[in-house]
Symmetry: C2
Subunit: 347 residues, 2 copies
Amino acid sequence: MRGIARLARELGVSTATVSRALNGNPNVNEATRQKVLEAAQRLGYAANQAARSLAQGVTHSVGFMIELDQESTTSTDYFFMGVVEGMQAVLAAHGLDLLVLPCAKSQDNFTFLQRFVSRGAVDGLILAETRRIDRRIDLLKSSDIPFVTLGRSDSGSGYSWIDLDFEGVMATAVERLVRLGHRRIAVTVPSNDANYGAIFAQAYRDNLARHGLDFDEALVFPTRRREDDGDSIVDGILDRPDPATAIILFYEVTAIGIYRRLAERGLKPGRDLSIIGFRREESVRFLMPQVTCFQMSLQDLGTAAARALLAQMPMTVRAFPSGIVQSRVPLSLVPGESDGPVCLREG
Amino acid sequence: MRGIARLARELGVSTATVSRALNGNPNVNEATRQKVLEAAQRLGYAANQAARSLAQGVTHSVGFMIELDQESTTSTDYFFMGVVEGMQAVLAAHGLDLLVLPCAKSQDNFTFLQRFVSRGAVDGLILAETRRIDRRIDLLKSSDIPFVTLGRSDSGSGYSWIDLDFEGVMATAVERLVRLGHRRIAVTVPSNDANYGAIFAQAYRDNLARHGLDFDEALVFPTRRREDDGDSIVDGILDRPDPATAIILFYEVTAIGIYRRLAERGLKPGRDLSIIGFRREESVRFLMPQVTCFQMSLQDLGTAAARALLAQMPMTVRAFPSGIVQSRVPLSLVPGESDGPVCLREG
DNA sequence: ACACCGATTGTAAGCGCTTACAATCGAGGG
DNA sequence: CCCTCGATTGTAAGCGCTTACAATCGGTGT
């Protein structure tokens, strides 16, 4: 005999009483509860997870699905750990375990997710790297499992998401540059299929318009998250009749290549070309002059996502309202020396 | 009625037959199996995880416990993603799910682990950041759950571990520097309580001895994984009667601070001070001159750990021998320009 | 024609826990 | 002193799946 039955026999009570005592059920004599807890402690007993889930119909755990991208492993990860930290803290406070579920880029992320969902392995899900069109969202919507996505998609609106405030970032960046006298502002956008690229690009257009600036397709540079697009960008910006005087980077690392190319051409970042990076990255911290960029708390992003999830989960106590949450976490500007007043030196 | 029973009724067979068909049991008529599979597919059926685990006594999942260090979140993560990728691939090929279990630095990692173990939430475990003395290892040894640690500990030897080949790295580094004429070689070691620090330091002493060099406590610098210990290191090395001419860094980022200080003193890395870094890092890729360092495949580390775990799990098919595995994954030297022949300029 | 056998399927007993419902007991009310 | 009621505990029916064991059936050997 094992498990709860053993404990029960040991104490001369029924398994029901043990179960109640362990689960904080109020219908147990306090003295009895103490005896049970003591014995459980002494025998190192912990309820079997599977049996519990089966009987209760819930797992007390939520999954955070991430995708492992062989190519950019060294980068995305760095992003997630902070986020996971925030999530974990909030979920743990509500008695939920966070399971990070890594999906290899090579396998179909839809099938991967489906397995966990249809098997009832988790009570809730958080998705990362949302696509513009993402079947996973439809899947989750049609199943009845609570979920939150990190990033918006175009898959309708009846669900919760948390995203970065790309619009706010872009508004601040453009306004800052305009104040400094810039009228021709270039931009880099991610070249992958994640939705944030489209959002970032749209925010760029919107904010140019807001300041009465013309949009020029030639000033938009798709980049990957690596430092070596500097040459084409710098040359593309400057070697034209109406060169741009500033650029906003989606990936801050791009600054490295740009700095390099500027140096080769005898130009100085901040004077001959103003540069504003988006999300602050570890590997760029040491670049001089420091890149003006935007910073955020990854932990906050995580806690926001966790809370948005909890808001949909059936539970008795909750420190915040329930329902659908759609919000953008703000980033703050970290001024550097990579931007400055437009340089009046004429080509 | 739901689950397997529904499927069974739908098909006019017993639940036992459905279960057998779904689980690849050979005692099922092939035609029947096809019908079952087709129906399951059609109805989007997948066996309930909890019920399955309860009945079988196994979960088909393994946990990878990592610790979230608020301070170094931005760094360690980057390490894990590659590792997770390797693990996931191997485990998935054996029908196991990998669950990454994040433990907040603030909570007791022993209790955290214990919960998952005693609740039977996973069939196997992989531990990261092993301490010299690590109660978790004793816990796992006394429970009967298969496990592997990333990193050695002093907790006996009857268990599997995978570690980096610190000894090999140090041997190569010292030998390289000795060949270049260096006789006074400094070292930085991590200042935390993980076991690898002690191992690295010991390997340093051993290899100095091997080449007949004296060990000097003053040339050992504890550092954290950040760039700003450069001043004290450079000054500590050079402002002494018998300055060191080379240094081996545990954390490659330390090179950034060192370069900076060297520059301030009008000195050049590779000429006035030879520098060899340990594990190659993203954020140092752009430092000039490039740091000579050691590189490894994080994926390989992950696959090695996963295989070592599988070697202990009860299973019928396995592509490699079972038993305890203790191995070190090698790193390869990436020559840069940060080291060179000892500079004969006399103080 | 009969016992026997392998292939296939069904029956039913759990796996360890939760929980609706019944049972018990002592106290307070009439 | 009997009845009702609240507090506490026990009983037992599942939760959805696996699997040992029994049952069925068509074919074989004699």
